[in-house]
């Protein structure tokens, strides 16, 4: 029996996907779980896997083409099965050559008319699976349902929990994705050779998501901002001492120290480590720090899980790995979801101070500026000191002024006296 291959929702917020590269070609044998194609979602490049054994046929989407989630993009048929016998709902354009197999990789560029399967974006899950997902705080959309019609059932969640805890699925990140869509620049037809008066650049998937996500934050979420200036002299001394000791075993950055101190301060201010959930507030007992990373055409916040209990070196290593992955668009969904509080650091861009937009449903984010030498009065003497400004954005539905200030005070104390982190 033929199995239709759909553009699947490979990230929680994905509504359409761009087919970056086919790993299998028309007529290739495929097995369940094998990578059929790489798809650029709104967040990353993900593998689209085969859900049936058989032969890949009727490849209807060319590399580079963007199609909505739920769109039929190919079928998998049993060996020897007539392609015409497939239940494909959409009429097919006649292949250019009768055999079709002669042109490997050549795909009909005609878009298949959208007789889309009934709402493929809806997640089907058993009532039990829904309840378990809710209790575990797992997003059902991130799971691959193993039940009939892709229904998420208990065993899928049991799998998900263990995946969350450890092993990253080994989707082979291969082949440099040709993600730069060539765009015909508008030209003024009257002035030959003249520079275009403007460039219309279609929103990339990630830019669309940023636009959508952030508009749901600063608008609906009642933000307020708290700024404090931190004396970083002792943090700098501590960092230098640590790096001397570490030698070539690693390096601790200011960012690592800030991530760690933030996580520790949150353990003492649980009210700031929370999600606003419309009818309730979820106070997290674990601290998962989202770390804003600038990528080529946007930003993404990979997550350092349980940052409060991880050693500085490990935080540094993870932050580095995640940032690299983010820049190469290879983050897996579990690596950029589930943060409980975020840190955005523009210190390296010489920004003194800025405000960051909260990443819902989190209730807070800190914006970290650069460390600058300033004249500061210390014991009635003006001394040069390294100072850094931190601005916290708070969701007033969760955090009140004094609550946020209390957290910020603890964070400041920890940075000004790194030994306080041991308390």
């Amino acid at each position: 029996m033929a199995t239709t291959v759909f553009m699947e929702a490979l990230s929680p917020t994905m509504e359409e996907g761009r087919l970056v590269k086919w790993h299998k070609r028309e007529g290739d044998a495929v097995q369940v779980g094998e990578t059929l194609a790489e798809v650029e979602t709104d967040k990353a490049i993900m593998d689209l896997q085969a859900r049936a054994d058989g032969i890949l046929r009727q490849v209807a989407v060319a590399e580079g083409q963007t199609v909505p989630v739920g769109k039929e993009i190919a079928v998998i048929v049993a060996p020897g099965e007539a392609v015409g016998a497939t239940p494909a709902p959409a009429p097919r354009p006649a292949p250019a050559s009768a055999s079709g197999s002669g042109e490997r990789g050549a795909v009909p560029s005609v878009t298949v008319s959208a007789v889309a399967p009934a709402d493929a974006t809806r997640v089907k899950a058993s009532p039990l699976a829904k309840r378990m997902a809710k209790e575990a705080g797992v997003d059902l959309k991130l799971l691959q349902g193993s039940g009939p019609g892709g229904r998420v059932v208990r065993r899928d969640l049991e799998g998900a929990e263990s995946r969350e805890r450890g092993a990253v699925p080994t989707g082979a990140p291969t082949a440099d994705a040709a993600r730069d869509v060539p765009l015909p620049a508008p030209r003024s037809p009257d002035v030959p050779g003249a520079r275009a008066s403007y460039d219309d650049v279609p929103l990339t998937q990630i830019r669309k998501t940023i636009a959508k996500r952030l508009a749901t934050s600063l608008g609906p979420v009642p933000h307020f901002f708290l700024t404090t200036e931190v004396d970083m002299e002792r943090a700098a001394e501590a960092r230098d001492a640590l790096n001397r000791q570490l030698g070539d075993r690693g390096k601790v950055s200011f960012n690592d120290v800030i991530l760690k101190a933030t996580a520790l301060a949150l353990t003492k201010h649980r009210a700031c480590n929370a999600w606003f959930q419309e009818d309730h507030i979820r106070y997290w007992n674990e601290v998962h720090i989202g770390m804003a990373v600038a990528v080529e055409d946007g930003l993404i916040t990979p997550v350092i899980r349980n940052a409060d209990v991880k050693p500085l070196l490990e935080i540094g290593r993870e932050a580095g790995d995640l940032a690299d992955k983010a820049r190469s668009r290879r983050l897996q969904p579990h690596e950029y979801t589930g943060s409980t509080f975020s840190v955005s650091n523009l210190g390296m861009f010489d920004i003194d101070q800025f405000t960051a937009v909260i990443n819902p449903p989190e209730a807070g984010i800190i914006a970290v500026g650069s460390i600058v030498q300033k004249p500061v009065v210390v014991d009635a003497t003006v001394l040069p000191r390294r100072r850094m400004r931190i601005t916290m954005s708070c969701d007033h539905r969760v955090i009140d002024g004094a609550t946020g200030a209390g957290f910020l005070k603890t964070l400041k104390e920890m940075l000004e006296n790194p030994l306080a982190m041991l308390l």
């Binding site: 058993s126 009532p127 039990l128 699976a129 208990r154």
Partner: protein, 326 residues
């Protein structure tokens, strides 16, 4: 504990209740001199005499009506039908008299009557004599319906039925009469309205009653070999139905299969599914599946009859499906 056949367990219940209460009497076709078509009333005529063990003409509506009248007058009749297929003729007395009189008399006239006899298919008795009537009977407010699967439950539920002040239907099984099991001596009364976990398990609940308990237990053994732990819940009482036990089991296993001898449409299983979906909705990992008789009159042909009936294989297949194994 003595081992008895199902028929002897029923016989023991009748004898003990007739000894215990002189208002209890047995009436039906061939219950006296012939000692019952299935020998359930063996020795009772000899012990209690023809006033309390009454042979009737072949007239189900008539003797059922006599029984209802006797109950109105204060006796505790036990009406035996040679099979429930014949009792269809007596349904007017059961449904319109026995089930209604307490209600229509404003609670003044209780009808403490038992209607009992074999129900469902035996072997090659063909379409008219192989029918499972429980969903018809359990549909009626004013009746209680029990369907024991084991000798011990047969004794305990028949005793409870005789002592109950309401009309109680006791559904027995021709294929069960010869089955054996341990039966507690003397005062062993199984309360009406309590299901029984016949086998404990963790992965899937098999809900069944009467004869289907046997294939369900066999299915559970086969499933065990396949690594699936099945819990077998015997309804025992079809009205009232023990929601608590059913729900507790499904909350534990998250998956459920209901097996019954009757036809699928509006069957007992449909009622069970109603309970499960309503009371255990958030515990369900799969839709509840049912195993029933095929939706056709029972074929006479042996192979077709086997194909039409619920079987361990069909229950195993359904259980594997709700566990998403197939």
């Amino acid at each position: 504990m003595p081992t008895l056949t199902y028929r002897d367990a029923l016989n023991q219940a009748l004898r003990e209740e007739m000894q215990r209460d002189p208002s209890v009497f047995l009436m039906g076709e061939e219950v006296g001199v012939y000692q019952g078509a299935y020998k359930v009333s063996r020795g009772l005529l000899e012990e209690f005499g023809p006033m309390r063990v009454v042979d009737t003409p072949i007239a189900e509506l008539g003797f059922a009506g006599v029984g209802v009248g006797a109950a109105m007058a204060g006796l505790r009749p036990v009406i035996e039908f040679m099979t429930w297929n014949f009792a269809v003729l007596a349904l007017d007395q059961i449904v319109n008299s026995a089930a209604k009189i307490l209600y229509e008399s404003g609670g003044q006239v209780p009808i403490p009557i038992v209607f009992r006899g074999p129900n469902g298919a035996a072997l090659q008795l063909a379409a008219q004599h192989s029918q499972a009537w429980e969903s018809w009977l359990a549909h009626i407010p004013g009746l209680k319906v029990v369907a024991p699967a084991t000798p011990a439950d047969a004794k305990g539920l028949l005793k409870a039925a005789i002592r109950d002040d309401n009309p109680v239907i006791v559904l027995e099984g021709e294929m069960l009469y010869n089955t054996k099991g341990d039966v507690p001596e003397g005062e062993h009364v199984v309360p009406i309205g309590k299901a029984d976990v016949k086998r404990a398990g963790t992965d899937v609940t098999l809900i069944c009653h009467s004869k289907t308990v046997v294939p369900a237990l066999k299915a559970a053994e086969q499933l065990q070999e396949q690594g699936v732990s099945a819990e077998v819940v015997d309804l025992r009482s079809l009205r009232p139905m023990d929601e608590e036990t059913l729900v507790a089991s499904v909350v534990k296993t998250n998956r459920c299969v209901v097996a019954e001898e009757g036809w699928p449409h509006c069957g007992i299983g449909a009622q069970v599914v109603d309970i499960i979906q309503r009371e255990a909705f958030d515990s369900l990992d799969a839709p509840v599946l049912r195993v029933t008789q095929a939706d056709v009159p029972m074929p006479y042909n042996k192979q077709l009859e086997r194909a039409a009936k619920p079987s361990p294989e069909k229950i195993v297949a359904a259980a594997r499906r709700v566990c998403y194994l197939d």
